[in-house]
Symmetry: D4
C-alpha cells in the first residue's frame, strides 16, 4: 500500500466517507510487505556507497553488463566482483566509464573520486599470492569511502618481517588478515594488536589445504582473541565488514 | 501498535482531531513488526493441531515441563520430541494428563482423541531398529489428525518381503521411508509407487555409516524420481511434512 | 509369461487338456519376473506425461539422440536434462520437432502444447544464479501438466523483497525453494507458509560452500517444519516431486 | 635486558667507561625477546578488563583453582570459561569471592561492579537452546565493560518474531547472532541492519548438523554483507570481539 | 494368493464354474508378492546354516531374546552379533543352550557341532587389538561350516613376522585381512598371494584414523590386485563373504 | 645370491674347500632379498594371463608405449587401463597388434584369442552410464580367461527389470555389480543371490554424490550379506577379483 | 629353518651324505621367512632402548599386564602408552618395579636410570593443555636415552613469550612442537630455527577443531620449510622420531 | 633503527649531548622489529644454499621471472617449484643461465655445480607415477648440497622388489618415501629401517584416494615408529626436511 492510497484512506476517514472500523480492517489487512522498506534500501545505498554488488561468477557478460547499466543510472558508484575481462568488455560497451581492476578481478565505477577516504583499516597479506583477495577488499573499501593501508609479504615463516608493522597493527581501527596455507598469520596478528581482526582464508596452497579449508579451520580455531572469520577468498565481504566497523569508529557514538 | 491505538488514531482523524498528514506520518512510521502476525500463528495452530513442538534434547526437565505447562493451557494437544523419562516425570507433575511414548521418545497430550484421522499416509521401515524414528513420525501424524499405516521390516536385502505391500504403497497419498545402513529402501519404494516419497535416513549402522551419513547421501542421490529427504533421524519432521501433504490431498483444491 | 500363454493354459484346464495339479505347478513356477509389470510402466507414463527422462551428462550426442528418437516414437512428450547444445544438434537431426531450453539445459518435445496445466506450484529462487535449476524444474512441471508460478530474487539478505510474495506462498499447494550459498531461504519460506516446501540446494557459491554442501546441510537442518530436501542442483527431481504432490492435491482423494 | 641494565650501560657510555663500539655490540646482541613487551600485556589487561581468560575444559579443578588464585591477586576481574561446578568449588575454596554463572558455565569475579558499562552491543539468539553460548558472551562483555542487550527466541521459522527488534538491530553498534541448526538467522539479521554482525554457530541440532558444522558453513556463506564468523559455540570469543569493536566505536577516533 | 486358493481357482476353471477370461483377470491381478519366494529363503537357510543373523546393537535385551527364541525354534544354529552380556543373559533365560563368545561379542548356538568344517579360509590380523573383529568372522565361518586358520600379529611394521605365513596365504582359497591404523596389511598380503583377499578395516587407532576411515580408504586404494573391502569392523560380513566364496570353491562347478 | 653362486658354495663345502661354519655364516648373511621370488612372479603371470597391468592415467603416451612394448615381448597378452586414444596411437606404432577398447578405455593384446573362457561371472550395471567401468572389468576377465555375462540397465528405480535376471544371478559363481548415484543395486542383488557379490561404485551422479562417495558408502553399508566393495570406478580391480574367485571355483579344491 | 638344521645340512654336504643338487633344492625351497630376522629385532631393541611399545588403549588390564610382564623379563626398559590407572594397577601386581606417569598416561620401567642421556631435543608446547602429549614424548625420549628440554606456554597469541626461547630453538638438533587449536606454533617455530621440526597436532580445542583436524591440516600446510607432521596426539611417535634423529646427529656419520 | 642511527645515539650519550634518561626512552621505544634479524636470514641463506624458494603455482610468468632475476643477483643458487614451461621461458629471458627440470617441474640455477654433495639421504618411490614428486625433492637436496640415492618402483604389491634395497634403507641417515594410492610403503619401510622416515603422500590414484587423502591418512596412522609426514605432493618440503636432518648428522654435534 503506497502513500497515495494510504492518504486516500485517511482522507476518506477524515471526510466521513469511511468509518473507523472499516478503515481499521483495511489497515489490519495491510500487507506487511508493502511497508516502506525502500527507506532501508535508500539509507543502505547512501551509507555503503553503492546500492548493490554484482557477483559476476556464473553470470554471462550480457547479464553483468545489463545489471551494471541499470545500477550505474542511479548511483555514482558501482562494483562487480569476480568479473572476467569478457564481463568487463561487455559492460564497458554500455557504460563506457567503467574501470577494470585486473588483480582484484573487479569492474568498478566511481564518479566522485575526490571524496574523502577514512583511514583506520589495515590490510595484511601473508604472501603475494594472497594479493588478489586483498585487492578485492581494498577496492571495496575505497568505494565505501575508506583508504586502507597495506602490509604485505609478512607470512609467519619469516615472522621478523611482520615486526616493523606492529605499530601499524596496534594503531589500526580494524585489521584484515589474508592468508592461505596454514593461515597462522591471523593468530599472530591477533596476538599483537587489540584492534578487531577480520581473517580471510585464501585458497592459496595445495594438497591437504583442500582449497583453503586448512586456513579456514585454523582461523576459526585461533587461540588469539578478537578474530572473526570470512568465507574463503571473500575479499569483498572482508572489505565490506571492515568498512562497516571503521565507519562507526570514525563517526563515534 | 496494537489495535486500540490504531483505532484511537483513526477516530481522531474521523473527528478532525488529527489531520491526514500527521496520521500519515504516524502510519508511515508504523513499525512493521507490530502488524497482526498473530493471525498467522493462530491459523497455524489450528491447522497443525498444536501450536509449537518442544525439542527436548539439550533442555532440562524443568525447562521442558515449564514450556509444556504453558502450551497445555492454550491448546488441546501438545508434543515434545526427543524427551527422556526424566523430562516426562518433571512434566507430568505439572500437567498430569501428559502421556509418554517410550519408543518414540515423545511426551504428548491429546484432549480430543475421538477426532477423525485421515488415511493416506504409509510409513515404511527397513528394519526394527528404525522403529523409534518411525514412531516419532506416527505420533506426530496422529496429533495432526492422520492415521498412518505401517509397513515394517521390508529392507532390500530380502526384497520379496516388500512385494506384498506394493499395492499399499501405490495407493498411498504419501509414503515415508525410514532406513539406515545404505538407505536403499527409499529408491526401491520410489520406483514402485507414484506417491511422493519422503525419505528419512536413520543413524542405524556402524563404521562407514558415519552416523547416518551413508543413508543420507544415498537418499539424496536416489535414482528414483519423487523422493525428497529429511535430516537424519528426523521422524517428527517427516511426520509433519507428510501431514501437510496429506491434508491438502484429502481436502483437494 | 504373457497373457497369451496364460490364456492358453487356462483354456487347456477348462477343456480338460491340462489337469489342475499340472497347471498349478506351472503357475507356481511362474517366473515372477514375467508378471505384468508393463502395467506399472504404462500407468506411470500416462500419469507422468513422459515415459522416461534422459540424463544427458556423460552421454555422447549420438547416444542422447538415439534414446530420444526411440522415446519420441511412442510418447507425445520427451525430456532430456543436463543436455548440451551438441546433444541438441545431434538429436534434432533425427527428431526435428525437438526444442532446446538453453537456461534449463534441457531438450524437450511436447506434441500436445494445448493441454491444460494445473496451478498450485510456486517456484522461489534466492538469486538469478539459481535460475538454471529453477527452469529445469519449471520445464519438468510443464511437461507433467502443471503451470508453476515463479518468485525470483528473494534472497534473505533483502528479506523485505520476499514479503509481497507471502500470500502467494501461503496459497500454494506446494512450494519449491532454490538457493545456494547458505540456503537460508528454505527455512524462511518454510516459516511463512503451511504448504509443503521442497528445498533444492544449488551449487551457487564459492569457498566453503563446497559445491552446494553448505546449502544442502542448512536445508536438511531447517528449523522450520515442512521442508524436505533434494540433491544439489536437482531441478528435474524437484519439479517431478512437486508435480506428484500437486497432481494428487488437485485430484483430491 | 631490563631497564636497570640498559640504564647502567648507557651511564657507562655517558661516563666514558664503555666505548661506543662496545655498547653497540651489546645492543646489537640485545636479545629481541627481552624488550619491553610487558607494556603490551599491561595495556591489554587495562583495556580488556582482565589479564587472561582461563579455558577450563580439559583442566583439573586444582589447575583451574590455582590459575584463578594467581590471576585474582593482580586483577580486579577474572574469568574462566567452560568451567564445571567441580571447577568452581575447587576455585572458591581458594578465592571465596568467585561467582559461578551456571548457564554460561563460567567462573568469574568483578571487584568493581559499579563500573559504567557501555551500551551498543546486541546479542540475538535463535532459540533457547542457544542461550548458554549467548550468556558466555554476555558475561565476557560485562567484565570488559559493556552492557549487551538480549534478543532471544527469534529463529527464522517464525520470522515475524524478529521484526519488533529490527530497530534495535539497526541502532546497534555491533550485533552478535547465535544460532544452531541451519544458522539462517545470521543472514537474515545481516540483511536487516548495517551494524557489523558477528555470527556464532552453535552445536544445537542433530544428524546432519554434524555438531554445528551446518550452521558454521551457512554463516560463512551468508549472502548478506557484513557478517563475520566465530568458531562453533565460541561465546567468549564473540563477546570479546564485540567488546573490541564497541569500545572503539564508543571511544571514536 | 496361496496354493489353496490357486488350486480352487483352477478347479473352478476345470469344472466350468469359472470362465477363462474371469480366471485370467484374477491371475493378472495376482499380487506378484505372493509368489513362492519362501523357496529362496528356505534354500538360503539351508546353505548359510542359519536363517537370519540378529544385529544386537541398539536392541534391548528383551528384543534380542525374543528374536533368538523364535529363530532357535526352527533352526539348529543361531547367531547374534554385537551382543552384550546383558543381551546374552536375557536370551539364555529363554534358550538355555545359547553360548556367548566374549571376544567376538556374539551369542550363538550350534546343535550340530560335529558337522564337518571346510578348510580353505585364512584370517590374518595385524595386531591383537583387531582380534574381536577377527573372532566375529571366525565364529560366523564356523557356524556356516568352515574352519578358518588364524594368522595374527603380523602388522607391516615388523613385516618379517608375516613371512613364515606366506605359504599359508598362498595356499588359501580366500584370505580375510583385519587391520586398523593405516591398514597396509591388506596390500602386502594381496601382493603375496593369488587368493582373493577380503579386507576388513578396523577402528583400531586414534586421531587421524577417524574411527577406521584411514584404514578403509587405504584398503579401497590398495595397489595390489584382488582385494575387496568390507565396512569398518564388519567381522560378520567378512566371515559370511569368505564362507560364500569358500563353499563354492570346495564344491567346484 | 643366485643359484650359481649357491651351487658353488655347496660344492666348496662338499669338496672340503669351505668349512661348515664359514658356509653357515655366508648363508646366515644371505640377503633375504635375493631369494627366488621370481617364481612367484612367474606363477602369477601364468595364472593371471598377463604379467602386469599398466595404469595409463598420468603417464605420457611415450611412457605407456615403452612399457607395453617391453611387456608384449614376453607375454601373449597385455593390458593398459585408463588409456587415451593418444596413448593407443603411440603404443600401436611400436606394437602394431595392439587393440583399443574405446568404451573401456583400454589398450589390449591377446595373441591366443582361441583360448577357452570360463563361464560363471555375471556383470550387472544399473545404468548405461556405468558401462565404461563394466567394460573395463569385462575386458580384464576376458584376458584372464573368463567369459562374463552382462546384465545391464537394471537400476532399482525400475526394479522389475531386474527380475527376469534373478535366475542368472542365482546361478552365477560370482556377481559384479556396477552402480553410481545411490548404489542400491548392490544390496538388492546381494539379497537375491547367494553368489558372492563384488560391488563397484561408479562416479555417475552429481551434487551430493561427491564423485561416487555416496555409492561407495552405500555399498559398504549394505544390509545384504555377501557384498564386498572396490574403489570407485575400479573396473579392472573388480574384474581381477572376480577372475581370482571364479578360477578357483571352476578348478575346485 | 634354524641354524641347527642349516648346520646339519651343511655337515651332511661336507660329509658327502648329501649331494650338492639335493642340498641346493633344500636351500632353494628355504622358506624366506625363516631367515635370521631376529638380528633386526635384536639390533632395534638395543638401539631403541626397549623392544616393543605397548599401546594400552582398547586392551584390558590383564592383557597389558601380561604383555608387560613378558617384556620386562627380557629388557631393562619397558613402556606402555595410553595406559589407565587400572592398567597400571594390574601390571604392578605382576611387575612391582613398574612406574606410572600420570600426566603422560604411561606405564614405564627403567632399570638403568643412571644411563647418560643425550641433549639436543627441544619440546615446545603452545599451552598447558598440550602437556600430556608432550610428557608422553618426553618419557619416550628419556627411555631411549635422551634428555629433552621443555619450552611451554608459548602459544602464538602471545608470541613475545616465545622470543626468549629462540636461541634454544636455534641451537637444538631437533625441535618437537605440540599445539592444538589452530596449530600455528609449528609454522612460527619452523621460521625461527633451522633445526628439523616435528609437529604434533593435539586434540585441544572444540567446535571446528574437529578433534585436532584443524591443527593437523595447519601443520601439513605450514609455510615454513623443515616441518614434518605426526598423527594427532601422537606424543610417543614424536618422541621416537626425535630420538632417531638426535641419536644419529649425536653419533655423527 | 639501523646501526648508523644507534651508533649516533650512543655517541651523543658518550659526548654528553644526550642524557641517559632520554637515550633510555629512545631505546625503550626501540621498535623490536628493527633488530638485526638480517643475521638470521643471512645464516639461513648460507646454510640452505639458496635464500628463498619461489612457489610458481598461481603466479604469472612475469612475476616468477621478476622474482628469480632478483634472487639470482645475490645468490649462486635459485629454485622455483611448480613452474611451467611458460614460467621457464619468461625467466630464461632475464636470467639465461636458468635450467628447467621437466619432470620435477622446477626452474633452477647452480653456479657452483662442483660443490661436494653429502651422501646419506635415500629417496624411495612406490611407482613411476610418484617420480615427479621424488625429483622435486631430489633437486632440492642437490641444491642444498646433498646427493640422494633413489630406490624406485618398490610398491608393496610386489614387496619382494623392495628387499634388495633393505641394506640401503638401513644404512641411510634419513629415508624419504613417496607413495600414492594406499601409501603403505611408508609403514613397510619404517618397519625395515631405524633411519628416520619422511613420508610424502602423492596424489597418484583415483576415486576414494580423494587426491592423496587416503595416502596421507595412512601415513599419519603408520603402525611403524619413526615416520613423520609432509603435505600431499610436497616434494620440495620433503627434500628440505631431509637436507636439514642429513646436514646435522653429517656435521655431528
Amino acid at each position: 500500500m503506497d502513500q497515495t492510497k494510504l492518504r486516500a484512506l485517511l482522507q476518506a476517514v477524515a471526510q466521513g466517507e469511511q468509518d473507523v472500523d472499516g478503515a481499521l480492517n483495511v489497515l489490519r489487512a495491510l500487507p506487511f510487505e508493502e511497508l516502506d522498506f525502500a527507506t532501508l534500501d535508500h539509507h543502505r545505498a547512501l551509507r555503503w556507497g553503492f546500492p548493490e554488488v554484482v557477483f559476476g561468477q556464473g553470470k554471462t557478460p550480457a547479464q553483468v553488463a545489463g545489471i551494471l547499466a541499470r545500477l550505474a543510472e542511479r548511483s555514482p558508484r558501482v562494483l562487480a566482483t569476480r568479473a572476467t575481462v569478457a564481463h568487463f568488455e561487455a559492460a564497458q560497451k554500455v557504460v563506457p566509464e567503467l574501470q577494470y581492476a585486473e588483480l582484484a578481478r573487479c569492474i568498478w565505477l566511481d564518479r566522485e573520486p575526490e571524496r574523502v577516504r577514512q583511514a583506520g583499516v589495515v590490510l595484511a597479506a601473508a604472501g603475494t599470492s594472497d594479493l588478489p583477495v586483498l585487492e578485492e577488499a581494498a577496492l571495496t573499501l575505497d568505494l565505501m569511502g575508506h583508504q586502507p593501508r597495506r602490509v604485505v609479504d609478512v607470512g609467519v615463516a619469516g615472522i621478523h618481517r611482520l615486526f616493523p608493522h606492529v605499530p601499524t597493527l596496534q594503531q589500526a581501527n580494524v585489521v584484515v588478515v589474508f592468508a592461505g596455507m596454514e593461515g597462522a598469520l591471523a593468530s599472530v596478528v591477533g596476538g599483537l594488536t587489540d584492534a578487531p581482526v577480520i581473517a580471510v582464508p585464501t585458497s592459496v596452497g595445495y594438497g591437504a589445504s583442500f582449497g583453503g579449508l586448512a586456513a579456514l579451520l585454523a582461523m576459526l580455531n585461533s587461540c588469539a582473541s578478537g578474530v572473526a572469520v570470512m568465507n574463503i577468498d571473500n575479499g569483498y565481504g572482508a572489505g565490506h565488514m571492515a568498512a562497516l566497523i571503521n565507519s562507526r569508529i570514525v563517526a563515534g557514538r
